[in-house]
């Protein structure tokens, strides 16, 4: 059993509180998409409905193109596990405006809460993972500023780090397994891209 106590929805709402035109958000498919949308859909959110493993690279391409804006990637452990190498690519580029927040519930939420590799070993026949530590992996890939948040008391610092600290910043947050309402943004990818570019650049 995970011992996490932090709930993802109120956490993401705090992370995105007061988001203005200087904050560009890319969210991974599934729960992270619904989380940022529950906090308030906005044109400068790029919520992914697919493209698993593409969230961190998309944030990196955006961060390089827009060095004066803050780029925040919010995604889950399953998506992050599918693109571990991209953490090394981030480290090699060292964008000082990029922060990555992984909400780790140790489950593949969209397919029925099967264990991911971040679940503990020896956790029963159907719920065992590898105990993989994504924060250690990020550190090992060369991202110097990494950390894990487990306690509510550390959330205020987490929000400050994700919003303002010199990047690249990587934070792993252990969150509870919950059944939550699907709060969905527009699904059409071309529309999401066009409204993002219109808000950022003035034309799609």
């Amino acid at each position: 059993m995970s011992t996490a106590t932090i709930q993802r929805r109120p956490l993401v709402k705090k992370i995105l509180d007061g988001a203005d035109n200087n904050l560009l958000v890319v969210a991974g498919l599934g729960s992270a998409n619904w989380d940022i949308t529950a906090a308030g859909d906005r044109p400068l959110n790029m919520p992914l409905w697919g493209a698993m493993g593409g969230t961190v690279p998309m944030g990196l391409g955006l961060a390089i193109a827009q060095p004066s804006k803050r780029v925040l990637v919010i995604t889950g452990d399953g998506d992050m596990l599918m693109s571990l190498g991209s953490l090394a690519t981030v480290a090699a580029q060292a964008p000082d405006n990029l922060a990555i927040c992984v909400l780790d519930n140790e489950k593949f939420g969209e397919t029925g809460n099967q264990a991911t590799h971040t679940s503990p070993r020896n956790n029963g026949p159907t719920d065992s993972g590898a105990g993989a530590d994504l924060s250690l992996i990020a550190r090992g890939c060369g991202i110097a500023d990494t950390g894990t948040v487990r306690d509510q008391a550390d959330v205020a610092t987490l929000v400050t780090d994700l919003r303002t600290k010199k990047g690249p910043v990587f934070r792993l947050v252990k969150v509870t397994v919950e059944k939550l309402e699907f709060v969905m943004p527009p699904q059409d990818g071309a529309h999401l891209k066009d409204r993002f570019r219109a808000a950022l650049l003035g034309s799609p």
Binding site: A51, G54, P57, L60, Q66, K193
Partner: protein
């Protein structure tokens, strides 16, 4: 006449390419080095070609044009995320050095080399090929126009005949 790799670099300049993604590649090495030395182009080495598709999408979201350089053997790594070009409808350009064509020495290169145009077309990518040095500049320029003016996903196959067949020191 210019080296065709320098012609490609000139096309990148003409089309204001700002990000270039690559994995190490002998066929593209001269072009990659030119990009690395350029002040206007940010060059990103990838751990897998797959990263190049969402990187290009992110660059476009932020208002920059990019190109993914890869080998035919890397194309298979990109296929699921290649769907982003259709879902988001963003301009995408990739230049692919071919292996596994007629004359290839290494049997392991044939499956993905022969499959490359088919899988790209299956994902809705426009595929064009060039095998003569004098045609490279025009072909890549037209591909860039289709991508960045016409909003298409475009792949240019740089044929093994153009690059030269790797012989591992054997004759």
């Amino acid at each position: 006449m210019n080296d065709w790799r320098d012609d490609i670099f000139q096309v990148f300049q003409d089309h204001d390419i700002r990000q270039v993604y690559h994995v190490p590649d002998a066929g593209h090495s001269r072009l990659i080095e030119a990009c690395q030395k350029s002040n206007s182009i940010r060059t990103l080495a990838l751990t897998t070609e797959e990263e190049g598709i969402p990187l290009a999408a992110g660059a476009w979201l932020g208002g920059q044009r990019s190109v993914l350089l890869m080998q035919s053997s890397g194309v298979g790594n990109t296929i699921n995320l290649m769907g982003l070009t259709k879902t988001l409808r963003f301009p995408f350009l990739t230049l692919i050095t071919m292996r596994g064509e007629q004359g290839e020495f290494n049997s392991w290169q044939y499956p993905m080399g022969q499959g490359t145009p088919k899988v790209l077309e299956a994902m809705g990518v426009l595929v064009t090929a060039v095998d003569k040095a004098e045609d490279v500049k025009t072909t890549v320029d037209h591909a860039a126009r289709s991508a960045f003016n016409g909003g298409q996903a475009v792949a240019v196959l740089l044929r093994q005949k153009l690059i030269g067949i790797k012989n591992f020191g054997k004759k």
